[in-house]
């Protein structure tokens, strides 16, 4: 009856052999190609460092102006604009300015990267059911697999630093933009597409003149979600060497500094709320034509 009491697993020897084989192969791969990969990501690293330096070197009043200006351009709402500026003032007064700038830098670069890769991927998915069938499960894995699990190979390949941190953030944050681009384009009214066809629209004209503009509200919801998810990865990214608001949070966890953790955590929340409100109101303004507004 032994057979039923314990699940007949592979022997310990076979298993450890298998695991070792996988590890060795990957180590070999990382030894052979690690440097090339690092070179490949080098431009990204430079851009990230440049952007971070730029934010840190810019005098704080200018940053406040830029934040206020962007919030106004995006939302056209005084409430949101003033709220954003006040949040940044509070962050500065509580001495979290530098960490906030570092976080802002990595979030911005990660978001740009996600948009640059995610929107074309979403478009591809919307045009081919096969692409959708292949990419959807990959996105599912990316969203649900614990981030620590993919941190292992990323760190093995690229070591500790900004680029692996950025990659980890992107792996976690890219699915919404891909999904919502795909969904948005697929939801475009069939009657409108038929009318476009009837006037001899080429596939390219149809994509950029009809499908993408009409999918924009959904695409914007995707960008919004991507930013939110990128922000939520800040602490984990700081475990592998990304500067920013995540570092003091980690320190607070290991030393039980309640106030430090709370302050930096709330700074992340403030950033999230600002990004969310601004990008959402901008998305809403994009679909003004739906309600007959200007």
């Amino acid at each position: 009856m032994e057979f039923f009491e314990e699940f007949p697993s592979l022997g310990r020897k076979t298993l450890s052999g298998m695991k070792q084989a996988v590890d060795e192969t990957f180590k070999g791969f990382s030894r052979a190609y690690g440097e090339q990969l690092e070179n490949f990501f080098d431009p990204l690293l430079r851009f990230l460092i440049w952007f971070e330096k730029l934010l840190e070197a810019t005098p704080w009043p200018i940053i406040l102006l830029v934040v206020g200006g962007l919030a106004w351009l995006g939302s056209r709402s005084w409430k949101i604009t003033i709220g954003s500026v006040l949040a940044f003032v509070a962050i500065g007064i509580l001495d979290m300015w530098e960490d906030t700038m570092a976080t802002l830098a990595i979030i911005s670069v990660a978001t740009m990267l996600c948009i640059a890769i995610g929107i074309p991927l979403g478009i591809l998915m919307s045009r081919s059911d096969r692409a959708q069938g292949i990419i959807t499960p990959i996105l599912d894995v990316m969203q649900t697999i614990p981030s620590f699990v993919y941190l292992i190979p990323v760190v093995m390949l690229l070591g500790i630093g900004k680029v692996p941190g950025l990659l980890a953030v992107c792996i976690y944050a890219i699915p919404p933009i891909v999904r919502l681009t795909n969904l948005g384009i697929r939801l475009v009214d069939k009657d409108v597409l038929e009318a476009a066809d009837a006037f001899g629209t080429s596939p390219w004209q149809k994509l950029w003149g009809v499908q993408v503009p009409l999918a924009l509200p959904n695409i914007f919801a995707g960008i919004n979600q991507t930013i939110m998810m990128a922000l939520s990865m800040v602490v984990i990214a700081s475990m592998i060497g990304v500067k920013g608001l995540g570092v003091p949070v980690l320190r607070a966890i290991s030393n039980q500094y309640l106030a430090l953790g709370l302050m930096n955590g709330l700074a992340i929340v403030a950033l999230a709320i600002i990004f969310d409100r601004v990008s959402q109101t901008y998305g809403k303004r994009l679909q003004a034509y739906r309600n007959g507004g200007k």
Partner: protein
Amino acid sequence: MSELKVQIKNLYKIFGKNPKKVLPQVKTGLGKPELLDQTGHVLGINNVSLDIPAKQIQVVMGLSGSGKSTLIRHINRLIEPTDGQILIDGEDVLTMSDRQLRDVRRKKTSMVFQKFGLLPHRKVMENVGYGLEVQGVKDDEIAQKAQHWIDRVGLTGYENHYPGQLSGGMQQRVGLARALATDAEILLMDEAFSALDPLIRYDMQSILLELQDELHKTIIFITHDLDEALRLGDKIAILRDGAMIQEGTAPQIVLTPADDYIADFTKDINRGKVIRLRAIAEAGTPYDGANIPAGTLLNDALQPLAQAPNQTLGVTEPDGRYLGTVSLTKVIGALAG
């Protein structure tokens, strides 16, 4: 009759998993319900042939599900047929490459839709200019032509509105202006006015007839409304279950319906507004009394006939040709059906 603009030859369209396989069965006479029962395929168009003359309004009429909207989408190949031929100016649309087909859709045909099909994110001006923009016409030329057609359909002042801000009737004027702006010779109108309420529909019909007097387009007009068909159509074709059951002019359809189905359709319409004296004049002995034009509608002939001696008048064509006589009794008989 004048030259043929569009010819549809033995067109079949079957919807389903494997249309080619069941096509022979349809060709040997399997009907729509039997086909659905036996093979799970839906018969959209069943051996339709139709010659559409240039510069006239060809109405295709049928109830919903009769295949009329499917038929019109074959002309610019928004739907691929299962079998058959479609010629526009003698060229086979079905053998065209994507590029050639796009050219036909840009230059030769344009379309007006039941649900308007306007681009909601573009203003009226940009919607009307859409066909030209797709063709790559220069901006100032687009603006000028779009403005011209906006004025023609009576939307001056609404150039910068979004479609969502307009009523249904106004949206369809935008649709009409968009279709006219490309100067295409063939205008495909798929239940273009069916979504509008009766008064607006009548208005739009008047606009269309007025424009047609001047533009002489080849118009293919789909409708389920017999009054609309009789008012607009130079020629009318009637579809049922994807097959054509009668084709002819309005009086032909009203006076000699091909079967009970059509007779049923036509029994409630006002014959006096459709039939003209030409259709019922009795050829015979020359008449030496007063004459009345052959194009007079029966309704309009009642009064003069009642006052004529013997309640009889001679009927003449506009070119002076004498057709015969018509009597009040004859007209009343025709009105009663």
